[in-house]
């Protein structure tokens, strides 16, 4: 049966996140962006929504309800509040969700209980690499194995929360097989060199780092999924839909703000929204946001059905990447001169929205 109505539980969660987005995230976003510092108390409150614990299996103390669909619903609502805080709160999922999906019993038991605590525990993943032509299937970071150990070499970029992360997943290309695998690397492992924070156009309140791996040696058991390994395509699909959902949230924030502004801003004796030139931009934005959201929902639904959703996830990501840029750009335009002033949020949403084509692997549902 085709339906577009979330379950009652999902709706309850959405209402809760909406309150958090409006009451907590929105108020702190500007200052955090200006200071390039996370709003730590808002992150803490966001963590207490319990999004990641709900995905952790019941036998380990979680709620065992890992759903891509619920994940994208939540992600959109969080990004509607503020993208930097949303990605901050969700960063531990970059480590936890791949373990839920592909971790060995030992890996899951060792690490997943960490995320059931009331306090936010930073953990992360490193996929992106420095340089202009990034291809997730063709990584420069290499993993070579010898004597039951694995040696990692390479450089990673845009690794969120790397400095404080207790543990991270490092994606690398196996030099023998060419396959992409993930490796669990704990804080303080020899050869891991975390550089200064990256400086970016947007997402300024989220600390991200370039990280070097110089002959980093981990035990063979640190490979995600152990001898069986993991399915990198599935992880990438889940990342694509998560990012696309976040993009929808950013776009909706900009659109709703511009819509309300246009109804209040009076020029030539009437609200500017009463001009077709403005009204039509807003109509266009409304359609494109809905279109992108539906692409995201369909891909997420397919993931939850256990179907191959690679094409859907890829198209949803591509569509949302373009959509958010267009909509956030329109948001700035509707506000005219005020759109360019940092006191108004629309320019931040444009800066944040522009990042999505780049953020490969930086969120996960």
């Amino acid at each position: 049966m085709v339906s577009f109505t979330p379950t009652d539980e999902q709706q309850l969660l959405l209402d809760t996140i909406r309150r958090y987005a409006v009451n907590d995230m929105r108020g702190a976003a500007h200052e955090a962006d200006e200071a390039s510092e996370p709003a730590h108390d808002v992150v803490r409150t966001g963590w207490q929504l319990g999004l990641i614990p709900s995905a952790i299996p019941e036998e380990l103390g979680g709620f065992g309800e890992m759903s891509a669909l619920t994940g994208v619903l939540a992600a959109e609502e969080l990004a509607f509040g503020d993208l930097a805080t949303a990605m901050h709160v969700l960063t531990p999922a970059l480590f936890a969700y791949p373990l839920v999906l592909f971790g060995t019993a030992e890996q899951r038991e060792n690490w997943l209980p960490l995320f059931l605590e009331e306090r936010f525990v930073p953990a992360t993943a490193a996929l992106l690499e420095p340089g202009i032509f990034f291809d997730p299937y063709d990584l420069s970071t290499q993993a070579s194995s010898a004597d039951g150990q694995i040696c990692l070499n390479g450089a990673k970029a845009y690794v969120p929360l790397a400095e404080n992360a207790r543990v991270m997943l490092v994606y690398a290309r196996n030099v023998e097989t060419g396959s992409v695998d993930a490796y669990i690397v704990e804080k303080g492992t020899d050869g891991v060199q975390i550089e200064k924070r990256e400086q970016m156009m947007g997402l300024r309140a989220l600390p991200t780092y370039r990280v070097h791996f110089n002959n980093v040696v981990v035990d063979a058991s640190a490979r995600l999924g152990g001898a069986v390994g993991s399915d990198f395509t599935v992880l990438l699909n889940r990342s694509h839909v998560a990012l696309a959902a976040l993009a929808v949230g950013v776009a909706r924030a900009s659109y709703e703000y511009a819509r309300d502004y246009a109804k209040q801003r009076v020029q030539f004796g009437k609200p500017i929204a009463q001009n077709q030139s403005i009204a039509f931009m807003l109509a266009e934005a409304a359609i494109e946001i809905d279109a992108a959201r539906l692409l995201v929902w369909e891909a997420a639904w397919k993931l939850d059905q256990g179907e191959d959703a690679a094409r859907e996830a890829y198209l949803a990501k591509q569509y949302a990447d373009q959509m958010v840029l267009k909509v956030a750009d329109a948001g700035v335009q509707v506000l005219g001169g005020y759109g360019f002033i940092r006191e108004y949020p629309v320019e931040r949403w444009l800066r944040n929205g522009r990042g999505f084509p780049t953020f490969t692997g930086m969120a996960m549902v």
């Binding site: 085709v2 339906s3 109505t5 669909l69 109509a283 359609i287 279109a291 929902w297 490969t360």
Partner: protein
């Protein structure tokens, strides 16, 4: 409820059966019917009539059945709009012009369903539920001087108390299947006319005009850019007299509630716009499948695991075409699913229609471009699909009118506030 994209099993079966009809009775005749503009798609009409007739009969039987099995009735009809969307999408994939020749009550049927009484439904729709000869219905709103601004229509309906009849005068144009309905079968046309010009929209009512009514004649039969297999005619009313109870809805002109007189037309659009979207999707899919097939034959696959810098320009184009098609498909799916759930869908119907029409025109145009001289050649159907797709941006409300409707809704503005 839960978010789901699961198409029910029986609807999937219907879709497959329709795909077979499209392949068998539409595609093979596509070029011929395009080149010979006013030739009728005999094979298609003959194949479809018994199916549609029996469906219409089943719908009418439900009206007369005693009201006990209520719950069951509701359940069975709950995917009706989804079915129709997927049916039309398949048929338009076969041929968008031929699809419009479906022997059925058509848009007139939508109007009768939306505002007719049970008695009227039985009286007027029975002809679509019986007999060996196909019957067509049509809807007449547009006039030479009233397109998007259809409330300024000048066709009049004057009540003659002496004979208890309505008297119609005026001219309607661009009527899909108008000639089929009035001259080539025992069909009917739902005609919109004003009973009181001074009352504006409130004075506009719809009337059922049956084939054979004196004073009704077919004027011009249009020759068109695309959908050439479809019959597009003008209808002239010259003191055409119809019975008093051929009016749909109330004859009252309610001056207070301005939009009441238009409610019927609007309700019709909520149901028909997703269907126009579906027909656009069919043509769009035809183009997309065709271009991918031709590219594959030339060794070009369209991957979904490469970063932007590793894609060729053609791969980027086709991926964008696919994404646009999917977005349009999902917006349309939402608009019909909402209708099936009984949720008001005016906004979503307009969104779906606008997006699907625009996306699929673009897809068809892009297909011609990518296929180069063969895209432009009448040897293949790509150029025909490009012409066929274009109409969806125009009928049932142009892109611009739909954008205006969407803008008013999202801004919560009246027609006066956002003109």
């Amino acid at each position: 409820m839960a978010i789901s994209f699961e198409i029910p099993e029986n609807v999937q079966q219907m879709t497959q059966a329709t795909a077979f009809m499209a392949q068998t009775y539409m595609r093979p005749y596509s070029r011929q019917l395009d080149e010979n503009e006013h030739e009728r798609p005999k094979e298609f009409v003959e194949a479809m009539w018994p199916i549609l007739r029996d469906q219409q009969k089943a719908t009418l039987d439900k009206l007369t059945r005693p009201a006990n099995g209520d719950g069951e009735k509701k359940k069975r009809s709950s995917a009706a709009n989804l079915r129709l969307m997927l049916l039309v999408e398949q048929l338009a994939w076969g041929d968008a012009g031929v699809y419009l020749c479906l022997p059925s009550a058509g848009l007139g049927g939508f109007a009768i369903e939306a505002v007719g009484t049970t008695e009227q439904k039985l009286r007027f729709l029975s002809r679509f539920a019986e007999g060996d000869k196909p019957v067509w219905g049509a809807m007449a709103i547009t006039e030479p001087g009233a397109g998007s601004d259809n409330s300024s229509m000048s066709t009049t309906a004057v009540f003659d108390e002496a004979t208890n009849e309505w008297v119609l005068n005026g001219e309607k144009i661009f009527i899909t299947s108008g000639k089929l309905a009035l001259e080539e079968s025992n069909g009917l046309v739902v005609v919109w006319a004003t009973v009181n010009k001074a009352a504006g929209r409130a004075g506009i009512k719809s009337f059922i005009v049956e084939a054979g009514t004196p004073g009704v004649s077919i004027g011009k039969v249009e020759i068109k850019h695309g959908i050439r297999a479809s019959d597009t005619a003008s209808i002239v009313f010259n003191n055409a007299r119809i019975p008093a109870d051929n009016i749909l809805g109330s004859a009252e002109v309610q001056a207070t509630k301005e939009d009441k007189g238009f409610k019927g037309a609007m309700a019709t659009f909520d149901a028909s716009r997703p269907i126009v979207a579906a027909s656009a999707l069919g043509v769009g899919r035809a183009s997309l499948e065709f271009v991918k097939e031709k590219l594959a034959k030339n060794g070009i696959e369209i991957p979904h695991n490469l970063p932007y810098h590793k894609l060729t320009a053609i791969q980027r184009d086709v991926l964008e075409m696919e994404a646009q098609w999917k977005a349009a498909y999902l917006l349309t799916l939402r608009s019909v699913a909402m209708m099936d759930e009984g949720i008001h869908n005016s906004l979503e119907a307009s969104m779906a229609k606008l997006k699907a029409a625009r996306a699929c025109s673009w897809i068809a145009q892009k297909t011609v471009e990518i296929l180069g001289q063969m895209g432009y050649s009448r040897e293949w159907l790509a150029e025909k699909w490009m012409r066929d797709s274009r109409i969806a941006q125009i009928y049932e409300g142009t892109d611009q009118i739909n954008t205006l409707i969407i803008a008013r809704r999202i801004l919560d503005y009246t027609r006066r506030e956002l003109a």
